[in-house]
Amino acid sequence: MSPTSGTDPDLTRKGRREQARSERKALEAAAAAQAARRRRMIQLGSVLGAVVVIVVVILVATSGGGSTAPSTGPTAKKEAATVSALLKGIPQSGNVLGNPNAPVTLQYFGDLECPICKEFTLGALPHVIEKYVRTGKLKIEYLSMETATREPETFRTQQIAAYAAGKQNLGWYFIETFYHEQGQEDSGYVTESYLQNIAQQVPGLNLPNWSAARNDPAFAEELKRDEQAVTQQGFTGTPSFLLGKTGGTLSKLENPSLEEPSDFESAINKLLA
């Protein structure tokens, strides 16, 4: 018997035990790694799900400023009364509010669905109208610039609806009422019945004439001119403004506060001085 003949089987058994142990360890390690990976995937899925839910909740919560339906009833009456009180007695001509011979002109580029324009309408604008337009020092010309309205056709329809009211020198009533009762952005609230509802709130508006005027090709041309002015000035958002002495060259009014009238006041006072 060779000296190794008795130990070989022992070594083989030992080797097999070692191999089995290492295989078992490898399997355990693989199972542990798989379990850890599964646990991580579950944790990642939970986090992603929670974040999606939170973002959706924030989106819904921060979109609650407006209504998806046209305003009716007491709310609409209240808004219409506010607009009437602001504009009553101030001359209008087309899309221009104020004395046509006012020494200073403000051009206001807006989109009727733009929520930031609504901020301006409810913020600085009433003070500017009361202090400068009502007193005959300033006239404000409303021009169209598409930003918030997603569908170009809707934009065209709503802006022309406002210009058509301007044909009866009531355009600013339409514009102000639209902004005051603005619906939730991207909700598709601007329908024919919505526009009719706004028009019905404009005091003294002859509805059949207004409806007929909406087909006037002159307004489509006016929108094109507005668009050219926007391109020429390089405006990127609404509301944007040009201000200057009437008949002279108007300059951009850069980043005025839309809530406080102070920026408008100082710029207008400088021109009036």
């Binding site: 080797g15 097999r16 944790q43 986090v47 400023g65 918030a148 952005e185 958002g237 980043n255």
Partner: protein
């Protein structure tokens, strides 16, 4: 990419993000217009109704978010720290996505600072998810030892051969 290199990359990105968020927070509270090459877009975004959430400036929220991400990256690495980084960055990514949506579809102006922060948060979230899913990094030399063990395994004596 080694675990250390990944961590350093993430710390570098989070530090730049912290700088951007600090600047936007400073601008918000000081009332000065932010430096912006895209006209008044940054000011438009910063002064919009969406610049605050429940009364808290979103710039401040971003600042707090970046501080949390950096803290989770600077503590000793563990399963929990990687989970924390992943949670913070994914939350930051979700918040950035919401703000970008508001910029594009509600404010209709894009602030370069906010956009750059959103890009950084997206990269951070991607890296953090990768880091979290791959788990504990292998100790140095472990891969070589495993390969050596694999190559040695077939030469083991087999009973009956």
């Amino acid at each position: 990419m080694s675990s250390r290199a990944l961590r350093i990359t993430m710390i570098a990105i989070a530090t730049v993000g912290l700088g951007v968020a600090s600047y936007l927070t400073y601008v918000h509270y000081s009332g000065i217009p932010p430096l912006c090459s895209a006209g008044g877009s940054c000011l438009e975004v910063q002064s919009s109704v969406y610049s605050k959430l429940a009364g808290v400036p979103v710039a401040l929220m971003g600042l707090i978010g970046y501080i949390a991400i950096l803290a989770s990256l600077l503590i000793p690495e563990s399963e929990e720290s990687r989970l924390a980084t992943m949670v913070f960055t994914v939350a930051g990514f979700g918040f950035s996505a919401y703000l970008t949506y508001r910029e594009l579809f509600s404010i209709h102006a894009v602030c370069e600072w906010c956009a750059s922060s959103a890009v950084m948060m997206t990269i951070l979230a991607g890296l953090a998810i990768w880091r979290f899913l791959r788990g504990e990094p292998l100790p140095p030399g472990a891969l070589a030892r495993m390969e050596a063990a694999d190559s040695a395994a077939p030469s083991l004596p087999v009973a009956g051969s």
